[in-house]
Assembly symmetry: C2
Homo-oligomer: 215 residues x 2
């Protein structure tokens, strides 16, 4: 009987932890990591702040877990396209377009994941997830090279360059100043302009010449 | 008389602050931001830890200032080459080669600046300095486009892509695991391989076709 009680308790703890994580994710999607405070989250979850520390050792651990959860969704979505059907250049194009569109659809969250200044624990996760993205591009680059469509340098390095280019190209358009300018009606780059420039940049960079480059 | 004393005191304070900053910079160059502790630094400077807080409000502010000092050196060095003499493609090439070589010569410091997980105050500075680098590349891209050597997309966006590619291409080779592998005698990419791949990637990406791409 004691054993069953413990099992029930563990399951309940797991469910509570998951519920807190979902609330935390929603907060970051709404206001970035700056909006993720232990006290505010505890209030929203209807538990004491002290109890929150039973589930997460601190803000850093919680933020890192939110980051990993949200980033894994993006890695999975990108993997589906990069490993999907079609010629390598087309998969690269579609992967970039999808990544930019998903970031655009959740700008606050995307900026939080890519560049918001935050606890070192999240920086650690950023390094890990950049590697996860890079591995997907390594696969694609090797595939494209075998099929004669790409002529990149060392795949691990070129994949890192692609990941860096994607992230950095989105930092500006997604950053708080850019969002404020757009909200105030000032002109700024559209999703289409950003996507198109990113696709052109990356296709050229991996040695997949574009129609407009033929001469 | 009182006025002169105050002036002398201010100057002495400024010199002491500068001395502490130099010690802090040396620590980061040696062991990254992880090696920068207020207590260790105070001991090395021969002052009480409490006194250190008279000069810097905390580890975050100190680390941010060390970051800015070291990064400004890199921005200045890059500006000299990118704004120097020569055709735009040659300046881009030389700028990339110099940046990679300088990073290679101070690997621990370069990794600390580019990617070491650290206080949010340093992340803030990273965003600012990435923009400073990007502005240099915008100038070069516009110059190269006017001269008909480059055919990039929107310069601000392409410059960001270049900055991202540079940073991310160096993260792997400079990271602690890569340094450990090299120290243990395992094969890893050389400076020449990394530099060459980065130059090829960026020249192609900005629409400056390489000799090997002509066909």
């Amino acid at each position: 009987m004691a054993y069953r009680l413990t099992e029930a308790r563990l399951q309940k703890d797991g469910e509570q932890r998951e519920r807190i994580l979902q609330l935390a994710l929603a907060r970051v999607a709404e206001g970035g990591f700056a909006a993720l405070t232990m006290q505010g989250l505890a209030e929203e979850a209807g538990i004491a702040t002290g109890s929150l520390y039973r589930y997460f050792r601190g803000k850093g651990e919680l933020a890192a877990e939110v980051f990993a959860r949200a980033s894994q969704r993006e890695v999975d979505a990108l993997a589906l396209v990069l490993r999907g059907a079609g010629a390598p250049a087309e998969r690269l194009t579609q992967g970039l377009l999808q990544f930019a569109r998903r970031a655009w659809d959740s700008r606050r969250l995307a900026f939080a994941l890519i560049a918001e200044p935050v606890e070192p624990e999240v920086d650690e996760q950023r390094l890990l997830y950049r590697e996860a993205y890079a591995e997907l591009f390594v696969e694609l680059l090797e595939d494209g090279t075998r099929q004669g469509h790409f002529r990149p340098g060392p795949p691990s390095l070129v994949a890192a360059c692609v990941v860096g280019a994607i992230a950095e190209s989105l930092v500006g358009p997604l950053s708080p100043p850019a969002r404020a300018a757009r909200d105030a009606g000032h002109p700024s780059l559209s999703l289409e302009q950003v996507s198109q420039a990113l696709v052109q940049f990356c296709l050229r960079a991996v040695g997949a010449p574009l129609p407009e480059d033929e001469r």
